[in-house]
Amino acid sequence: MIRLLWRDITLAFRSGGGFGLGLGFFLILVTLVPFGVGPNGEMLSAIAPGILWVGALLACLLSLDRIFALDFEDGSLDLLATAPIPLEGVVAMKALAHWITTGLPLVIAAPALGFLLHLDSAAYRWLIVTLLIGTPALSFIGSFGAALTVGLKRGGLLMSLLVLPLYIPTLIFGAEVVRRGAGGFLVATPLAMQAGITLGAIALLPFAAAAAIRVALR
């Protein structure tokens, strides 16, 4: 399974598919927002937590449809399904690889972009913490959406339609923690809720995704 993880990470680095693209998208999105809402620093500072979270979410979504689609097209998924690794493990490893190549860079880049948006200094800590806790959920929920649409010709758009509503709880709790952190309020409850969602997604969604892939390969 570790070999699968390494292969996916290597592939992402060599083809430039996930790693650079997601980050670039995140940067562009954050750059565009002030053009849309005006350069008022107070306003930007107020909406910064939400923008950063929505940006991270969309950047995550960008590379999701490749998670299984490429392997489906070149036949690797057939071979992985007949391999000695359980398909649930394959899904979990691929989601983890997606997180390492897409989610983790976003976590690292987010503070720099928060700077551009005048994010409140008290909130940086919580921005990093929530992204670190929340982005794995984005990858695992996304892998489920990608599994549902794996064999479809125009799966990318449909996948966004399916996955984005599932992202709502993660987004709500994530942005809430940052907002509360900026205001100096207690953050324990939303943080715990978000961690719960992430753990639940990691524990359960690989099973649902593997079931979907088995159906798609049939």
């Binding site: 699968l4 290597t10 592939l11 060599r14 083809s15 070149d74 036949g75 992985l80 007949t82 049939r218």
Partner: protein, 206 residues
Amino acid sequence: MSLISVKDLTVSRGGMPVLEGLSFAVSAGEVLVLRGPNGSGKTTLLRTLAGLQPPYAGEVISEPESVAYAAHADGLKATLSVAENLGFWAGVYGGHDIEPAILHFNLDALRDRPAGNLSAGQKRRLGLARLMVTGRPIWVLDEPTVSLDAASVALFASAVKAHVAAGGAAVIATHIDLGFEETVFDVTPFKARMDVVRDDFDEAFL
């Protein structure tokens, strides 16, 4: 003792049975060649043997995780080198040595080339070399000789011969004569009949 056998097997594509009443057994040291016109259901049968889709009726009997499957797509990554591609599959299937496979399929000189730069025939050879690193006794192959030249076909045939000589078995759908002792199984007579009503789902709608 047969390595893989099917009993009264019916296989379906898109919910409709395509082949029915199949029964055969393949023992160690044996090669079964499937024949039949295009669209007759050979691929569906092979996917069922590999466990990628459930039988519509009847059963496939084999040890769990004993089948290595190879189809039209080779499962190669364009940005990985030949050795990396092969090494990955060897790792997934339990860490078998890739050297014999590379040498047998004449890939030594290409070892560090990205798979994306290979010709169609070279890719195919790499895809077949993958079978040797799985360490699985039953090879289930769907048109393995597509885009191979005569010399490569000979390489492939000798790989299959060595495999079955070592106690393996193979089920191959192919149209060309590979030049070894084989049992030919023509699927044409087993084409599913449409005039019988099954008490099953899509039929229940008819």
